[in-house]
């Protein structure tokens, strides 16, 4: 019954082909806009390549054995309890590969997540999550010139203080292309997770904590998706980018959707911020 090997071979082969073809029909990682994103994607592909080789080799040996050493009457198996040198080789070689994989990650992880390694920010805002929306607090355009803004804003976020001229938006993340962004992430009720798939950033929001998050839109493929049209004085969204919740937060978890708007420049962003502030003041009265 050596043909059982065929069932295994076909299933494994279909899976290998599927993995190889999926990106061609667009079933791959979403486009990346962040400067560190290609590093993450490259590490992903490095692991995919290494595990892929191991996968194909081990499955091939298993299927070969099933075919070649299928029962035949009169044959006797080789009488062996193991092979010392083989054991050492197949322990040491994977150990080296795994250590290589592990240490290859450290740099990228430190750059993206370590607070001490986060670059100076051009922009800062606070995201406060709740069931089932993202409330975003931007410092006013006037405060954007303050060189100490990030520090004072971090303190405000920590102490739950607000300023009268803050600009509040719900489910809207506004940044500009190439900007370095610092977010102070909080939640009012349960765990949520701030996930921007195109910026390869994810961070849980934890009740009682204010967590700094860094990301940028400075990747080589980054493009603005929120374009100001001076003639009509309106903004146009050219491509939808999304903010998703990646930690179960209740029945509405799946629709805790925000939008990411990337402006073409800081000037464009400031223009929008002033516009949003004006809108906010108009509704106050």
């Amino acid at each position: 019954m050596k043909w059982w090997s065929l069932l295994f071979a076909v299933v494994i082969l279909v899976e290998v082909v599927f993995v190889l073809l999926a990106p061609l029909v667009g079933w791959g990682l979403p486009p990346n806009y962040a400067s560190y994103g290609s590093e993450i994607d490259n590490l992903f592909h490095l692991i995919l390549a290494l595990t892929g080789i191991v996968f194909i080799l081990t499955e091939a040996i298993l299927i070969y054995n099933m075919y070649r050493f299928a029962r035949s009457d009169g044959r006797r198996s080789q009488y062996t309890h193991g092979h010392h040198r083989l054991e050492i080789i197949w322990t040491a070689v994977p150990a080296v590969i795994l250590l290589f994989i592990a240490f290859a990650q450290v740099g990228a992880w430190e750059r993206v997540k370590y607070k001490s390694r986060m670059p100076p920010a051009d922009q800062v805002f606070e995201v406060s999550a709740r069931q089932f929306e993202w409330r975003v607090r931007y410092p006013s355009a006037e405060r954007m010139d303050d060189p100490k803004l990030v520090e004072t804003f971090a303190r405000e976020a920590q102490e739950n203080k607000k300023q009268v001229d803050d600009v509040h938006r719900v489910n809207e993340i506004h940044v500009w292309k190439g900007g370095q962004v610092r977010v102070y992430l909080k939640t009012r009720d349960v765990l949520h997770s701030f996930f921007l798939p195109h910026l390869r950033i994810k961070q849980d929001a934890v009740p009682g904590k204010t967590i700094p998050v860094w990301f940028d839109t400075a990747g080589p493929e980054a493009e603005a998706n929120f374009i100001y049209d001076p003639s009509s004085r309106t903004w146009k969204e050219t491509k939808p980018l999304e903010l998703a919740c990646a930690e179960l937060c209740g029945w509405g978890h799946y629709k805790m959707r925000g939008k990411l708007f990337i402006h073409e420049s800081k000037e464009d962003f400031i223009r929008w911020l002033k516009h949003a502030a004006a809108e906010q003041n108009a509704t106050k009265d």
Binding site: G28, N65, A70, R76, G82, H83, L86, E87, G252
Partner: protein
């Protein structure tokens, strides 16, 4: 010999039906009890998955049959999102705590340990009976929880605070302001798991003691079959990790019922019209306590299957297990490292990222003992004489699929990559390749392998193979595309992925997975009919149908209460297949070496 036989029957008088099959202290009966209840819960847990898979493939569609019964009226036969949360949460809870752990340790741990080490029973037969009967309050509570106000728990099998733990202000009742099914449903969930924990704890103490104290003469530790090594190490893992989960469950239960604030941060949490009382605790504390148990639990859910599969592969390869000692060390290595990797579930949790670096390196290194095991299984089939029984096919599927599940774990362990794929379908694919494609195939293999010993009958091989082939194909159809869905960064636990522009183009994958899942469900009918139907088949008195070496095959099928006519004496390791010392291609552990007299055998211990 006949005098010995009388002594045995004398020590175990015929018991009443109730004492023999229901309140039994016989490890084999208890094992079979765990097996039957585990299979029933496998049906329930699988059924829940099929229902929510329909919603995932065709969002907001009317659910056939069930829709009319449960969600008639304003819902229009459609599944509400909180029900979806409940279904996937209970699917995972049931599969982990009521199916895989009880089947691997409860059913097969119980059945195999005394038989394979040559003992008449467990060290503590009454404790053993208690460990099964503590499952029944858990069964009752978890099933009843579906009918309480708000429905069964829907906070995921991880039940993270504060969604799971938030309570109304003191005096306002047991409902939760955070979610409708986080009130009584969550309390029932906590209670049920506490009972499961006590059951497993009693079992593991028993297994450890039995393996250490009750081995037959000549059965040294390094003559024990891999199944026993795996069960032994798993029991140690369980005994060390479970108390932490039990404590965590009790803390959350206190938060929910007595308004303590172990997991509630300072300041109250506002939910709509309600604000919880002020807290003083730590939300992240739960995750540390939970994963300190639940990561080792992942190994509890795979190591016994690895052990059983090793024995099955050696038996049907007619070849000694390749690298027996490295295999033992690998299991011990997995178990040891398993205690220092729990933080890899928490890379994105707000835990200090510097801790993440350490947890990452430990986690990636745990792939090493797993790799060693795979290479040794490949070594066992090399130059072998493979008999393709149903048990062997399922065992080979275990190896083949564990390779996928093992390798895919490395992606999440790599912290930067985890930033992207954390809590996406990639992790869902990974855990199903480990828990379904590996553990469940291991369980199918073990059922086919030990069925003749359990019942003195055989399962139908033809239908066993049909079931295997269909399950292998459809299960890959369900779980493999989840990797691709995850690489598209589709978050898990979403009621409807079509809400997101960046996910809509992946929807054909969801449809394909659901169709495969439904077919996978249908294919299991073959197994059920084969399993239960074979109970009524012709009795086969054969003791050793697979020509295997280990001790259980020297006992009658099924073995009587007390197992062996005489205490077996062990002369060699369990893997002497194709040995030049024997004309046959196997050499049982009890076969007397050439030139030595047949042992008279010591009488079975009275107990």
């Amino acid at each position: 010999m006949s005098a010995k036989h009388e002594a045995v029957t004398h020590a175990h008088p015929e018991l009443s039906f109730l004492r023999k099959y229901i309140f039994s202290t016989d490890h084999k009966v208890i094992g079979i009890q765990f097996l039957i209840s585990g299979l029933i819960f496998l049906l329930i847990g699988g059924g829940l998955a099929l229902v929510f898979r329909i919603q995932l493939a065709w969002p907001y569609s009317e659910i056939p049959l069930l829709g009319r019964w449960f969600w008639a009226g304003p819902a229009g036969g459609r599944m509400p999102p909180e029900t979806y949360n409940m279904l996937f949460s209970m699917h995972a809870t049931i599969m982990i705590f009521f199916v895989i752990i009880p089947l691997l340790t409860g059913a097969f741990g119980n059945f195999t340990i005394p038989l394979m080490i040559g003992a008449p029973d467990m060290a503590f037969p009454r404790l053993n009976m208690m460990s099964y009967w503590f499952m029944w309050p858990a069964f009752a509570i978890i099933l009843a929880s579906f009918f309480v106000e708000g429905g069964a728990a829907g906070q995921g099998w991880t039940s993270y605070p504060t969604l799971a733990s938030a309570t109304m202000p003191a005096g306002e009742g047991l409902q939760s302001p955070a979610a409708p099914n986080s009130g009584l449903g969550q309390i029932f969930w906590l209670l049920a798991l506490i009972f499961v924990g006590i059951s497993s704890m009693a079992g593991s103490v028993n297994y450890i003691t039995t393996v250490v104290n009750m081995r037959a003469p000549g059965m040294t530790m390094f003559r024990m079959p891999m199944t026993i090594w795996a069960m032994f190490i798993t029991a140690i893992l369980q005994a060390m990790a479970l108390p932490v989960l039990t404590v965590a469950l009790i803390l959350q239960l206190l938060d929910k019922t007595l308004n303590t604030t172990f997991f509630l941060p300072p300041g109250g949490l506002p939910f709509g019209n309600w604000t919880t009382g002020p807290g003083g605790g730590q939300t992240l504390l739960w995750q540390h306590l939970f994963w300190f148990y639940s990561h080792p639990a992942v190994y509890i859910m795979i190591l016994p299957a690895m052990g059983m599969v090793s024995d099955i592969i050696a038996t049907f390869s007619r070849k000694p297990l390749f690298g027996y000692k490295p295999m033992v060390y690998a299991i011990a290595g997995i178990a040891g490292l398993g205690f220092i990797v729990w933080g890899h579930h928490m890379f994105m949790s707000g835990m200090d990222p510097r801790l993440g670096t350490g947890f990452m390196i430990a986690t990636i290194m745990i792939a090493l003992p797993s790799a060693v095991k795979v290479f040794n299984w490949l070594g066992t089939t090399w130059q072998a004489n493979i008999h393709f029984s149903t048990a062997m096919l399922n065992a080979l599927a275990f190896v083949s699929m564990f390779i996928i599940g093992g390798l895919s774990g490395i992606f999440m362990a790599a912290t930067p990559v985890d930033i992207a794929i954390h809590d996406t379908y990639f992790i869902v694919a990974h855990i199903h390749y480990v828990l379904f494609m590996s553990s469940i195939f291991g369980i199918f293999a073990a059922i086919h392998y030990w069925y003749p010993k359990m019942f003195g009958r055989r399962m139908n091989e033809f239908w066993g193979k049909v079931h295997f082939a269909l399950t292998f194909i459809f299960a890959n159809g369900v779980f493999f595309p989840m990797h691709i869905f995850g690489i598209g960064l589709a978050p898990r636990r979403y009621y409807n992925h079509l809400e997101y522009d960046f996910l809509t183009h992946l929807q054909p994958l969801n449809v394909f997975m659901t169709i495969s899942a439904l077919l996978l469900g249908v294919a299991q009918v073959i197994f059920l009919v084969n399993f239960f139907g074979s109970l009524f088949s012709r009795r086969v008195e054969e003791r050793n149908p697979w020509h295997s070496n280990t001790l259980e095959w020297t006992a009658p099928s099924p073995p009587p209460h007390g197992n062996f006519e005489t205490t077996p004496v062990v002369y060699r390791g369990p893997y002497e297949y194709a040995s030049p010392d024997s004309a046959e291609d196997y050499l049982p552990q009890t076969a007397t070496p050439n030139g030595q007299p047949h042992p008279t055998g010591a009488p079975v211990h009275a107990h």
